[in-house]
């Protein structure tokens, strides 16, 4: 049930308008209805939607939209620009205390991802800023919350401070800070229990912890799938404990994430990080621009481009192109390519990031069989050096050995050899065609057919 993006919906609205020649104020109004719809479907808070639509309408009516030959695109652009502006700039900077330890308090609703994010952030701070964090287990309510943090601490090789479930969270926080000083840990994370923003006792507890340890950062952790209530949650937490930054979790899902906009517009606080998975390295800086596109259902093109860029080494690409041309591309190169593609992330997820992908029927069910990829890898890895660079020499007894070594079948080995051969031929054709155009587009023709 993938929803259409705003771009597509506006397109439809414009079909009706087309032929009338000029866009009228009423047409703009019609388009704004679509904007409103798109934002509500993306879970942006209704009040925020209203303000936003009002602002955008004013700009649209007063601008070139009505004269424009491409009013739809104009409107999308205005909406996107306004949205991106509301989202603020990129700010992943962390405020460190002048006098260590820096205290970072994690707050939010139940199950939002506080404990996991504590681990992720600690990991990042150690890697990027070379700090030595201490993790404090101040959730004494949720069963096994302490064990959860301890397991994470073990995975990261970081100390965890805890006083059991009978202790007062305020004491835990205070003693953790003292302990950090003693042990020369320069950052202390306080992982608090999840709580509803309307739970007065527990909100009071948060204020008490805050007063006791005076944190340098208070991070509100919010699930990206949160609906209308996100605005109120963020507002209340901010009022009660003074949020300094927001972490949006579970953005690896397929939610539009309108909560991001609600949170920004009611608190004005920066969203600093995005949780992209359950593993402890799945934390990324938050990109407001991309979030704007995502909310509008315009495909996460930027992410895709960046992913491709970070994972493809420019020098390697040149080298590879040369190999395409003189047909010296070997199975070793192929293996390397496989690794590159794998680094970009699960293929089916990459597919879904393409703009318009939501419209393709059944895209949600597309399964790129990563196991198949592993099998191809296994086959190649069972070849000798000579075989890898000169596949021509692979005769039937060699095939038998490779199949046995990789735990596959001779048919599979045959298939791969045949496809590899075809690929090489195609590469040659393509690189000949592209020669002189000065374009360096690195693509592996026929690669996709291997995984079906």
């Amino acid at each position: 049930m993938a929803f259409e993006g705003l771009g597509e919906r506006l397109q439809q609205t414009l079909q009706k308008i087309k032929g009338k020649g000029k866009v009228t104020e009423a047409d703009v109004k019609e388009m704004m209805r679509e904007v409103r719809f798109a934002l509500i479907e993306a879970d942006v808070n209704l009040k925020v939607v209203k303000e936003f639509v009002k602002k955008v309408s004013e700009r649209a009516v007063g601008s070139d939209v009505m004269q424009s030959l491409t009013p739809g695109q104009q409107v999308v652009k205005i909406v996107r620009d306004e949205l991106a502006e509301l989202m603020g700039g990129e700010t992943e900077a962390i405020t460190f205390a002048k006098k260590p330890p820096t205290v970072i308090m994690m707050v939010g609703l139940q199950g939002a991802g506080k404990t996991t994010t504590t681990g992720k952030l600690a990991n990042l701070i150690r890697k990027k800023y070379n700090r030595k964090p201490l993790l404090a287990a101040a959730d004494v309510y949720r069963p096994a919350a302490i064990q959860q943090l301890e397991t994470i601490g073990k995975q990261l090789g970081m100390p965890v401070f805890q006083l059991g479930t009978e202790a007062d969270p305020v004491d835990i926080a205070k003693q953790a800070v003292a302990k950090a000083k003693e042990d020369h840990n320069d950052v202390v994370f306080i992982d608090t229990a999840g709580r509803l923003q309307i739970d007065e006792d527990l909100m009071q507890e948060l204020r008490n912890i805050h007063d006791a340890v005076k944190p340098d950062e208070v991070y509100l952790v919010v699930d990206a799938m949160t609906g209308q209530v996100a605005a109120n949650v963020a507002e209340t937490f901010d009022q009660q404990v003074g949020v300094t930054g927001v972490v949006l979790t579970k953005l690896d899902g397929d939610t539009r994430g309108g909560a991001a906009l609600s949170i920004r517009s009611v608190t004005g606080k920066p969203i600093k990080f995005a949780g992209m998975g359950e593993k402890l390295d799945a934390l990324e800086p938050f990109h407001p621009e991309r979030m704007a596109s995502r909310i509008l259902g315009m495909g996460d093109v930027m992410s895709l481009i960046e992913k491709a860029q970070t994972n493809v080494d420019e020098e390697k690409a040149k080298e590879l192109e040369q190999k395409f041309r003189d047909q010296s591309f070997t199975f070793d190169d192929f293996l390397e390519q496989l690794e590159q593609v794998k680094k970009m992330g699960p293929l089916d997820e990459i597919l879904k990031m393409l703009p318009g992908a939501g419209k393709i029927k059944g895209i949600d069910n597309v399964k790129v069989d990563e196991k198949q990829m592993d099998r191809v890898e296994a086959v190649i890895k069972s070849m000798t050096i000579a075989e890898k660079s000169k596949p021509e020499i692979i005769n039937s007894s060699r095939k038998k050995r490779i199949a046995r070594g990789s735990g596959t079948s001779i048919q599979e080995v045959n298939r791969l050899l045949k496809q590899f051969d075809e690929m090489r031929k195609m590469m040659k054709q393509m690189s000949n065609m592209q020669q002189g155009k000065g374009k360096r587009k690195m693509k592996m023709p026929g690669l996709d057919s291997l995984f079906k």
Binding site: M1, A2, F3, F37, I40, E41, A42, D43, N45, L46, L109, Q110, G111, A112, G113, T115, T116, Y141, R142, P143, A144, A145, I146, Q147, Q148, L149, E150, T151, I152, Q155, L196, Q197, I198, D223, M225, T226, G227, Q228, V229, A230, N232, V233, K250, D252, G253, D254, T255, R256, G258, A259, E278, P346, D348, E349, K352, D364, K367, V368, E370
Partner: protein
């Protein structure tokens, strides 16, 4: 087909007997609910476009979702015209009837669990991360045990840090044995052992926990299908219930969750958790409408008693009562000032 028509058809397709039984059973709650709505609406104002608009906004703010709200509003407008309703008095019945009808079906038997007379009843919990699966399992186990049933729990979340311990704490708390393997082991193997143990020890109910997973992770959804399959292989017809835990704070994504998990594991019911907060989880209305999955329980807190069977009347009332109350108050004040 319109929202209400579809629902009406479903209901009228039911044998009269059940409908009657259901009606009797609900007569009391129904009147109290209706009278509450009446009170509210009466304190309101004329049935005009403003009224509809505000009702629409209340429902949108409860996460019901644009499409379903629009269908609802169209139906209500039509009803108002058809009955030639001009004042609030007339719309009272229309609103209460319509809104509650949506959930009628959820209460006539389908709201209860498919319990087995012989052998263990197996209940599998599925859902995305952090929605409250493990907690609900603890609460549900407590419920069964207080009814005198014996319960066993399967620690099928071998992935998340501390998840097995969490279920163990619940098991100890409510007095249920927990079948567990080491962290990071194969969840299907846990299920295999658990179903065998449940059969051997002749427990009444086996409740299986699973790791949270986002529905767009194909590998993890495949793993879940496998878990589901393994249970069925060890005990034909099991799992007898597959319950999807949905967090009431979740917005429109819940619809996609329901759809995808249904495809993978044939979800038989929903547990709507965290309704003790301010979120309403209105998206279950759309889920009910589009996918027909009933809500079976609601989670109202973190304690073991905080689980209740779903009550359509109360739920629907809660969807917009607060909002209407506030409106009425403001209006009352305005009037008082005049």
């Amino acid at each position: 087909m319109s929202f209400f028509k579809k629902l009406k058809e479903k209901i009228s397709g039911k044998p009269d007997e059940t409908t009657e039984k259901y009606k009797d059973g609900l007569e009391k709650t129904r009147t109290s609910f209706t009278s509450k709505v009446n009170d509210l609406v009466a304190r309101y104002r004329k049935v005009d476009e403003d009224f509809f608009e505000e009702l629409e906004e209340l429902l949108l703010q409860a996460d019901v979702g644009f499409e379903t709200v629009m269908e609802l509003m169209d139906d209500l407008r039509f009803e108002v015209q058809r009955r030639n309703v001009k004042d609030t008095e007339g719309i009272q019945t229309a609103i209460s009837e319509k809104l509650v009808d949506i959930y009628r079906k959820g209460e006539d038997g389908e709201g209860s669990l498919n319990m087995q007379e012989e052998g263990p009843t197996v209940i599998l919990f599925v859902g995305v991360n952090g929605v409250g699966k493990t907690t609900t399992i603890g609460k549900l186990a407590h419920r069964f045990i207080s009814e005198g049933k014996s319960v066993m729990l399967a620690a099928g979340d071998t992935f998340r840090a501390g998840a097995i311990d969490q279920l163990q704490v619940w098991g100890d708390r409510v007095g249920a044995e927990v079948i567990r393997h080491a962290e990071n082991s194969d969840p299907a193997a846990v299920m295999y052992d658990a179903v065998r143990a449940a059969k051997n020890r002749k427990v009444d109910v086996l409740i299986c926990d699973t790791a949270g997973r986002l529905q767009n992770k194909v590998n993890l959804m495949n793993e879940l299908e496998k878990v589901h399959r393994v249970i069925g292989r060890e005990l034909p017809d099991a799992p007898h219930e597959t319950l999807l835990a949905l967090d009431a704070t979740t917005g429109q994504n819940a619809l996609i969750q329901a759809e995808t998990f249904k495809e993978a594991t044939n979800v038989t019911g929903i547990v709507l958790t965290k309704l003790d907060g301010t979120a309403k989880g209105g998206i279950v209305l759309a889920i009910r409408n589009k996918l027909g999955i009933p809500v079976k329980f609601v989670g109202l807190g973190e304690g073991m008693e905080d689980l209740q069977p779903f009550d359509a009347e109360r739920y629907v009332y809660g969807l917009f009562a607060e909002g209407l109350e506030q409106e009425a108050e403001i209006l009352g004040q305005e009037k008082g000032e005049d």
